[in-house]
């Protein structure tokens, strides 16, 4: 059976070059980078060159990169670590309503620790209005965290504008750039942020390798205490092969970004235009213009996402959905709900995430397979028969 992986939102496939770069660090160069002998030196040199590669990807300096174990850890570190380090100034933080759970739940934890958290809403495209951030800034605000892009609906947020506001008010700005770093141009100076999270498995690097870029001079509280790894900000023996891989993946992403984007945009735009023209009652979710190059997200009305996913999977297509039924909590995606998409429609969420390995034939295959699946489920749907009888 044909197999088409279109879930590059969840994770991407390691490239051959990245794997090649990692391999020696599993055995030959197995040393602990903290050690003062040849084995230690080799590992240390490896992670320092990876640090340069990751710094280059986002326009920062190597000293500003702190390697972590995942994007989730980077976000936890930024939210909790920055809040704890600056709580003398105040205990108020601001995040958007569509942040990833690693930010949302970190903020919730801060709430339990006595911090006050304000949520910034989004419009129907998932866009944050910078003025909404401004309106929420108070004397005791110490941190604003707005994601660079939302992977579920693809919307890219106006971080450059938000950073003008946070600079004026001297509030630290963190951005979760896990969906963008390594995918679209990300430059910390241009964005004007103070902290930025990224994860290598989002750009064809290994899992277990994230990083937090923290502007020189910004204080942070470590969350993991122990040795002096990562300048005393993140203790624990480094996951050397993963770090090496993230460096190589960053270098490749930096060098081939324009061609990758072009490739992804072509595939994305075909799907964005052809799904609504082949299937009735489809809503495109996310922003029409400010959109991640590989993201095509929809809500298919009258049917539910998990059922679609299962039927697509039976045809060899892997995608994901924000339907309540696919989430363990049985709640519709907080992102779709924040965008004021009605629950019944949010249930039909489908998310296609293109990657560099996908081709135009993959789009053809989706367009061949999806319409009969939708038809089959609609034939079973009481909402659809009601609609046919009386309209919406």
């Amino acid at each position: 059976m044909k197999k088409v992986y279109l879930d590059n939102v969840s994770t991407t496939r390691l490239t051959v070059e990245v794997r090649q770069a990692m391999l020696p660090y599993f055995d030959e160069n197995f040393g602990n980078p903290s050690c003062v002998h040849e084995w230690g030196d080799i590992a240390k040199e490896g992670i320092e060159s990876a640090r340069n590669q990751v710094a280059q990807l986002i326009g920062g300096t190597a000293e500003e990169i702190i390697f972590t174990g995942s994007g989730t850890e980077s976000n936890n570190f930024a939210i909790k670590g920055l809040a704890l380090a600056h709580q003398k100034k105040g205990k108020h933080i601001i995040i958007s309503a569509i942040e990833h759970f690693s930010v949302l739940h970190s903020a919730k934890t801060l709430g339990k620790w006595g911090f006050d958290v304000s949520l910034v809403p989004v419009d129907k495209y998932g866009l944050v209005d910078p003025e909404d951030v401004r309106r929420r800034i108070r004397k005791d605000t110490i941190l604003v965290s707005i994601m660079h892009a939302n992977s579920e609906v693809g919307t890219i947020e106006p971080i450059e504008h938000i950073s003008q506001i946070t600079k004026e008010s001297e509030v630290i700005l963190h951005t979760d750039a896990i969906a963008t770093a390594g995918t679209i141009p990300v430059n910390v100076q241009k964005l004007g942020v103070d902290a930025l999270s990224l994860a290598s498995n989002q750009f064809y690097g290994p899992k277990g390798a994230g990083a937090l870029w923290l502007r020189q001079g910004v204080r942070i509280n470590p969350l993991i205490d122990g040795g002096v790894q990562e300048d005393g900000r993140r203790a624990g023996t480094e996951n050397v092969p993963a770090i090496i891989g993230s460096g190589k993946a960053a270098e490749l992403a930096y060098d081939s970004m324009t061609t990758r984007i072009e490739h992804l945009v072509n595939l994305r735009d075909r799907l964005l235009s052809e799904i609504p023209s082949t299937i009735d009652h489809v809503v495109i979710t996310g922003h029409p213009k400010h959109r991640l190059p590989g993201n095509a997200s929809f809500c298919i009305e009258f049917i539910e996402g998990e059922a679609m996913l299962m039927l697509l999977n039976s045809k060899g297509i892997a995608i994901t959905s924000g339907s309540a039924c696919t989430s363990r909590a049985l709640k519709a995606s907080h992102v779709l709900i924040a965008m004021s998409i009605p629950h019944a429609i949010a249930q039909g969420s489908l998310l296609f995430g293109f990657g560099i390995d996908n081709s135009s034939e993959d789009v053809d295959y989706v367009l061949e397979v999806l319409p009969p699946i939708v038809e089959k489920l609609r034939q079973m749907s009481p909402l659809y028969s009601k609609f046919l009888k009386r309209g919406k």
Partner: protein, 132 residues
């Protein structure tokens, strides 16, 4: 999908008794308050037995498999027998459901029972009319 048993997958891929019945003797419609899904059962009754059962479902793979299984279990049974079909029995027949999907099995049994209650109500009215 590894989270589901083979029987769930089989019923999901080839659901039995999908559709509506024209002029049904009873209709049972239930909504799922947890995830917002919906199930409608249509029944035809003959000699106190379910002569025909059809359903429509808006919901996850488990919800569709549950409707299909519940419809199969109910067909041909007496009304009282159908009233004894519980969510647990439906889930058992499907070789179990993942924990977070057990609520979907409530829907199947509920919708069936509601259809029978609906039939009994209609039927009672019918009898009253006969007497006049």
């Amino acid at each position: 999908m590894a989270i589901y048993s083979e029987r769930v997958m089989e019923h999901f891929m080839n659901p039995r008794n999908v559709g509506e019945i024209e002029n049904p003797d009873g209709i049972g419609e239930v909504g799922n308050p947890i995830c917002g899904d919906m199930m409608t059962f249509y029944i035809k009754v003959k000699d106190n037995r379910l002569d025909d059962v059809k359903f429509k479902t808006f919901g996850c793979g488990a919800a569709i498999a549950v409707s299909s299984m519940a419809s199969e279990m109910a067909k041909g049974k007496t009304l009282d027998e159908v009233m004894k079909i519980t969510p647990e029995l439906v889930a058992d027949e499907l070789d179990g459901l993942p924990k977070q999907k057990l609520h979907c099995s409530n829907l199947g049994a509920q919708a069936l029972h509601k259809a029978i209650e609906n039939y009994r109500e209609n039927h009672k009215k019918g009898k009253d009319n006969d007497r006049e």
